[in-house]
């Protein structure tokens, strides 16, 4: 555990100021800005909605949401089910996408108070914990006390393994996102230190691609966990 501390400390950059006794780090301030931007985007896109779209803004919003909904629906089995969980899962997608892309803006990671939130493990761990608790909450809500039965489903002897699997899910979910984004940021930074001009560009393009894929993967895995927890018993 001793070796874990420098990585976490160096990747979070420490507190930049204190508010009501709480330490506010760069990722917190960046998250506030992202929250503000996403909220404003929501207001902008959901203004004056009509049953039959008249503006291009509404068309873009509908196309985005419908594509994502259809994609998640193909994972969860039915579009109705995906629509039910969409407020949570869709928010995950957009906030992770915005967080990943915030690290590609100029100055991210160098200016105080500006760092991609997903390049810190506390942020991704918080997201994964939300997934963990909501998965089991929805499992219990769907099946009641019978939900516990699926832990001993193939055989009661498998109980330690299934419990371990449940605990490893949030761990791998958070470490995957954190490792990808933190690794990508470190890669670009070290390439930038070697050759400052043009050479980092392809790696940053790779970062655009991976930022999208990682946001999608987090959302997809959340959907599969939710789908398997709320699946009809056979």
């Amino acid at each position: 555990m001793d070796g874990m501390i420098p990585v976490v400390a160096s990747s979070e950059g420490g507190a930049i100021f204190k508010l009501f006794g709480l330490e506010i780090s760069s990722i917190t301030t960046t998250t506030w800005v992202i929250m503000l931007v996403l909220t404003m985007a929501c207001f902008f896109f959901s203004r004056r909605l009509k049953a039959i779209p008249e503006t291009k803004v509404q068309l873009i919003a509908e196309l985005t949401v419908d594509t994502l909904l259809g994609f998640l629906g193909s994972i969860m089995g039915s579009k109705e089910k995906a629509r039910y969980y969409f407020p949570m899962v869709g928010s995950f997608f957009f906030i992770i996408l915005a967080s990943n892309y915030s690290g590609l803006l100029p100055g991210a990671g160098h200016l105080p108070g500006f760092q991609a939130p997903t390049s810190a493990i506390s942020y991704t761990a918080a997201l994964a914990l939300v997934v963990f608790f909501s998965t089991h909450y929805h499992g219990f809500r769907t099946h009641g006390i019978h939900y516990l039965k699926h832990f001993i489903e193939p055989h009661p002897l498998m109980l330690p393994l299934t419990l371990m699997e449940e605990l490893i899910k949030p761990l791998s979910l958070s470490l995957r996102l954190y490792g990808n984004i933190y690794g990508e940021e470190t890669l670009v930074a070290s390439i930038f230190a070697m050759v400052p001009l043009f050479v980092p560009l392809p790696f940053m393009l790779l970062g655009v691609f991976f930022g999208f894929i990682q946001a999608l993967v987090f959302t997809l895995l959340t959907c599969t966990y939710l789908a398997s927890a709320t699946a009809e018993a056979h």
Partner: protein, 77 residues
């Protein structure tokens, strides 16, 4: 050799070995997926989704190695 040399060697081995298995696995999975798409182009959407999912699971192993490498790298004084 000092401890630092062992940390550096450990970090290099951690990321080097951790990319080895997932690299082969992802190659196999992607190859089979393309084969499936070539045989059945109408199943492209489903295959792509499943491919991304399974690649993500393999990717996680590599990422664990990367994190261990960073951890060891941070210990070099």
């Amino acid at each position: 050799m000092t401890n630092d040399a062992f940390f550096a060697l450990g970090a290099a081995l951690a990321i080097g070995l951790a990319t080895f298995g997932p690299g082969i696995g992802q190659g196999l999975a992607a190859g089979r997926a393309f084969e499936g798409i070539a045989r059945q182009p109408e199943a492209t959407g489903d295959i792509r989704t499943l491919l991304i999912l399974s690649l993500a699971f393999m990717e996680a192993l590599c990422i664990f190695g990367l994190l261990i490498a960073f951890m060891l790298f941070g210990k070099i004084s």
